[in-house]
Structure formats: C-alpha cells, structure tokens
Amino acid sequence: MANVIRRQTPAARMWRGVLYAVLIIAALFYVLPLVVMLMTSIKPLSEISAGTLLSLPQNPTLEPWTKAWGEACTGMRCEGVGGYFWNSFAIVIPAVLISTAVGALNGYALTKWRFKGSELVFALMLFGCFIPFQVVLLPMAQTLGWLGLSSSRAGLILVHVVFGIAFTTLFFRNFYVGIPNELVSAAKLDGAGFFRIFWRILLPVSAPIIVVSVIWQFTQIWNDFLFGVAFSAHDTQPVTVALNNLVNTSTGVREYNVDMAAAMIAALPTLVVYVLAGKYFVRGLTAGSVKG
C-alpha cells in the first residue's frame, strides 16, 4: 500500500506486523492439508503406521504413486486409476469445448440479435444454474435410455454439456452485453451475416471470457462425481469415481499413501489449469466492455 499516506509510528508498525502474522498463519492453515497429502503420498507404509502424520518422510519413495496409477484395486479390478484418468479427459475435453461454443453462440444471439422474449429465454436458462444435480438424476437416466446413450461416454458428455450451457451462456451473455451494439450494426451495414459477425468481430475479442468459461467448465466437469457415478459403466467411469472406489476397497491394511497419491493424481489437472490460467480467470471475470 505504497500510495496510502500514513505516519510510520512504532505502534502502526507493530499492528502491521500483527496483521501479517495473522495472514501468514491463515495461509499455512490452508496449505497444510495439501502438504500432508503430498508428504504422505511419498512415504512408505511403515512410516505412516508409526503415527507420524506431520513428520517429514525419512525414505521418500514414488512407489505409492505408481501403485495408485497402475495397480491399486478399484472395486473388483486392480488396474489403478490411470485408465480412468484418461477417461476423464475423454469426457471433459469434448464437454468443455461444446458447452463453451454453445454458450458463446447463445450469449451472442441473446445480446446482439434480440428477439421478442429473449430476456425470458435468458432468465429461464439462468434458472438452470440453480437446479440441484440430484433433481435431474432420474429424468436424465430415462432420457439417456431413450436416446440409447445409457452408460456411454457420449451420454455423460451430453449431460455435462446440457448442465454447462446455463453457466457458459451466463458468462458470454454478460460479456457481450458490454460490447457496443454499434459494432454489430456496422458489420451488418458492411454486409456480414450472423455467423460472419460472430466469427470475425465478436470472437476475436472474447479471449478473456473464453478462458473463464473453459476453466469453470473444466473444473466443474472434472470434479463431478454424481453424474459420473450415476451415468457411467465400468469402463467409462471418470477418475473421481475410480478414486472413490479405490479408497473404499479394503483388502486388509489401509494404504493411506496410495490413497493420497491417487487423490493427488485426480486433483492435478484442475490444479495445473488454475496455476497456468488463474490470472486470466480473474482478469476475464472483471473484464469490462471492449473499447473500439
């Protein structure tokens, strides 16, 4: 706060010190679970059973990670979570791309090509953001059955796209509302049509909100457990479901180190996405109109 005018009295410095101390303690408190998980995941089982949760690993090993990836038992099979990790990607990537693309088109149509009742349509779509997942489980299962998509990857993608559109439409609609309508009028006079205006004028300035939409959808769909467990068969399960099965499968001794490694593997992609694009996420959420 270099731009705050304040006299540097000893008391003021002391209070500043207290403030920082509190903040640092709070930060440590937040990061502690991650540290414990990480440390536990590289300890051999013998060190864990000694009851030393917070101690540093004496003989670090990657063995729990390889076991969690390729050998640990998830229910009846013992193939680790590796396969399910790729399953998750196969579901998340198409679902994110489709829901973002549809959301962008919806937002564009709802702001730049208003029609009678477009506000109502938007309000109804917004409603979709507040529907709890549990409510739609049965009707969705029925629908997927009719469509012949039960327990398939395509079915799970469809579910995520349908649920995601409410959010992505909201993002893009609020972003495009800030872009002057005159831009679209100018392009119409220049002879461009619906898709041409979207592609050439709107999309090139949408980078911030695309990042927001992608990060949001990626974490939502990656972290989803309920739809994954309800609508997938054994070979189409996402990693969250596999992690649950792995932790709940008891074959004698509880291998906490393997559980932790598996949990880390399952959480890694969202962590990576946040670290790489988190900056743009905040920037995109606060981005105002584009001044031409």
Binding site: P180, S185, G191
Partner: protein
C-alpha cells in the same frame, strides 16, 4: 430523381409512437441534417433509413427503389457511428476493407480503395494500427474512411462529432464539409448541435416528438422559423421571446410591452411585414421573437435603418466573448440577451440605448406558439 425518399414513415414501440408520418425527399448530392433534442426520433429515423430497425408503416426509397424491407447490406448505404464502432481486433486497413471484402471485391481493388481513402483522409501512416492505438480524432477519420471506401449511394452520419473535444470538432466539421463539396455525396446527418446543422446542411429537418416541424435551408430555418420551438432551438444564444400585446397603431400595428415600474414600451410593427392574420390577434397577447443580433448599439447605423426602433434599458450583466459582447438586460417582464460589438464600453447597472431591427423580428401566437408574422 430523389436519392433518398422517405414516405409517411411511422415507427411504434408498443403503444409509443416514435415517428409519426415522417416524409422527406432529398436529391443526389444533397446534405440533409436531422436536428432536434434527444428523444425527438432523429436517431430512430436514421436507423430506419439504415435498415437496422423495421418501420411500422410507410416506405423508404433509395435511388427510386423501394428498400423498406431490404436488409442493411442490400441498401447500399454506409454509416458513421457516434462511437465510431471500429472493429477492435482488426487493423485500420482491415477495418476499411472489411465492407469490400464482405461484398467480394477482389483484393487488388480493395487495396486500391484503402489507399485512395487513406490519402483522402490523411491516415496512410495509421493503416497497420489497431483502433485502441488511435486518438479520438484518428478513430473518427478511420470511421469515415470505412464509409467512404465502399462508395455507397447514401451516407449516414449519426452524431459523428459529439465524442470529440471542442477544437477538433470544429476542424472535423470543416473537413466533412470539404469532403462533401469535393465528392458530391448524398449525406444524411443526425446531430443535436444546431451549429453543426447550420454550418453543414443544404437542408435541415428540425424534429420534435416524432414530427418534422420544419424542413428547409439553414437560412429559412434560422430566419423564418415556423414556430417558437424551431426559433428557440436554432441559434446560440437562442432567440429572445418577449411577451407583448398587439395593438392598432394608426394604419398599422404596434406591440405593447408591459414594463414593471416604467412606462410601457411601444414597438411599431413594420408595414412590410403585415399579414392577413394579424387582425384577429388585435389586443391579444403575442410573443415577439428577437435574436440577440437584432439589437445593436444606438450609434451603429443598421442596414435596414428605416424601421429600427430605439429603446433604452438598464444592463444587468456584461459577457464579453472576445468577438463580441453579450448583454443581459430586462425588457418588459423578462430578461433578454443582446449581442453588441466588442468595443461597447457599457458596465452593469448603466442604462444603454439599443436599436431594434424590427424588420427581422418574428411574431408568434402566445397560445399555440405558431408563427403569426
């Protein structure tokens, strides 16, 4: 043949009627200005011409063809927007050539058009820049360049200068006028600035509440306004409206202006300006309209001296503008503005003799606000 003809156009938003039977026709090469206060329907009319908003009824013809139900792209018009509306992700070059590209003009021709327009507007050095890297005045030029590149039948300007600072606005105004004289384009121009309207137009349409009150040359609209609204809207400082009573004065008429604490003022109405309708207004209240420049200091000889009438009053405020001096002074029950030469030595509180050029005065009905004479 008319380049643009608007025939009985109406526009309704729900039950609200924004345009009420508007009809205008302008010839090729004419500069039409739509002027009026905000909410008068001028921008709606512009959007209707552009095809950005459908009309409720009526017809619009461009070059004799009925374009009422054609899309903006099919109308062969170009528009300069108040916010410029430059495509933010494109360079100046791409901005200018986008319309040509959409119309499938070959690349070589597009390049030639960009060069021609850039030369004309002196923006050749800016062609590779993005709009965000341009100043307000430069953006304005690019916006005009985008319109000029296509050489459409009609140009529409929607308050193009209102986002510029005062000095730049005057410069660009001159530039637009030069361009029009040079290229002979047909232009419809919306503004709420009556100075822009007076300086640029061949023809001014003064609008209010969805009606065109008066359509005429700047001279007509300024000197021969149809009602008090037009008279008050055009001109700055605006016309003085003085409450008076019309009386018989020998063969002709005179205006009696009741003045508190002093003897009533009697201004003879020039014989040359008699109209048939005046008889009916005898001994009724009327409004006398006098522009600030219709007053002058006593010693200056007026061109139409014959009917110049002398009046003396106390000056309350003196506002020198440099080029001339604006005086505020009480006349009858109201305070009026007079414009006198810069050499006038009067100080507030002093009495001053002013000559009134009654031959240029206008008279309105006090009730209907319509022009009487």
């Amino acid at each position: 043949m008319a380049a643009l003809e608007i025939h009985n156009v109406r526009k309704e938003f729900g039950s609200e009627r924004v345009l009420k039977d508007v009809s205008i026709s302008i010839d090729s090469g004419e500069f039409l200005i739509l002027v009026g206060p905000s909410g008068c329907g001028k921008s709606t009319l512009m959007n209707a011409i552009a095809g950005l908003e459908p009309v409720t009824s009526g017809n619009i013809y461009i070059d004799g063809e009925d374009v009422t139900w054609r899309t903006p792209a099919e109308r062969d018009i170009a528009m300069v927007f108040q916010s410029y509306a430059l495509y933010p992700s494109m360079t100046v070059r791409q901005n200018i050539s986008f319309g040509l590209e959409m119309r499938k003009v070959p690349k070589a021709e597009r390049e030639a058009a960009v060069e021609r327009v850039a030369d004309l507007l002196q923006i050749s050095h800016l062609l590779e820049r993005k709009p965000a890297q341009l100043s307000g005045g430069q953006r304005q030029r690019v916006a005009m360049g985008r319109a000029l590149a296509r050489e459409p039948k009609v140009y529409l300007f929607d308050e193009p200068l209102s986002n510029l600072d005062a000095k730049l606005r005057v410069d660009m105004r001159t530039e637009i006028k030069k361009l029009h004289q040079r290229l002979g384009t047909t232009i419809v121009y919306v503004t709420h600035d009556q100075v822009e309207a007076m300086t640029l137009a061949d023809c001014i349409a003064v609008m209010r509440d969805g009606h065109i009150l008066q359509l005429g040359s700047p001279d007509e609209v300024y000197n021969n306004p149809v009602d008090m609204f037009v008279a008050g809207f055009m001109g700055s400082p605006s016309m003085n409206f003085i409450r008076a009573t019309l009386e018989a004065d020998g063969d002709g008429y005179a205006l009696r202006i009741a003045t508190p604490d002093e003897a009533d003022l009697l201004l003879p109405w020039p014989t040359a300006r008699h109209t048939a309708g005046l008889v009916e207004q005898l001994n009724k209240p009327v409004i006398l309209g006098l522009r600030p420049e219709h007053f002058s200091e006593e010693d200056v000889r007026l061109s139409e001296q014959a009917e110049g009438t002398l009046l003396e009053t106390k000056v309350s405020v003196v506002e020198p503008t440099g080029a001339d001096i604006l005086l505020r002074l009480p006349l009858g029950e109201q305070e009026i503005t007079a414009r006198v030469g810069p050499k006038c030595q009067v100080v507030p509180g002093e009495r001053l003799a002013l000559r009134v050029d009654m031959s240029r005065a206008v008279l309105f009905d006090a009730e209907t606000e319509q022009r009487l004479a």
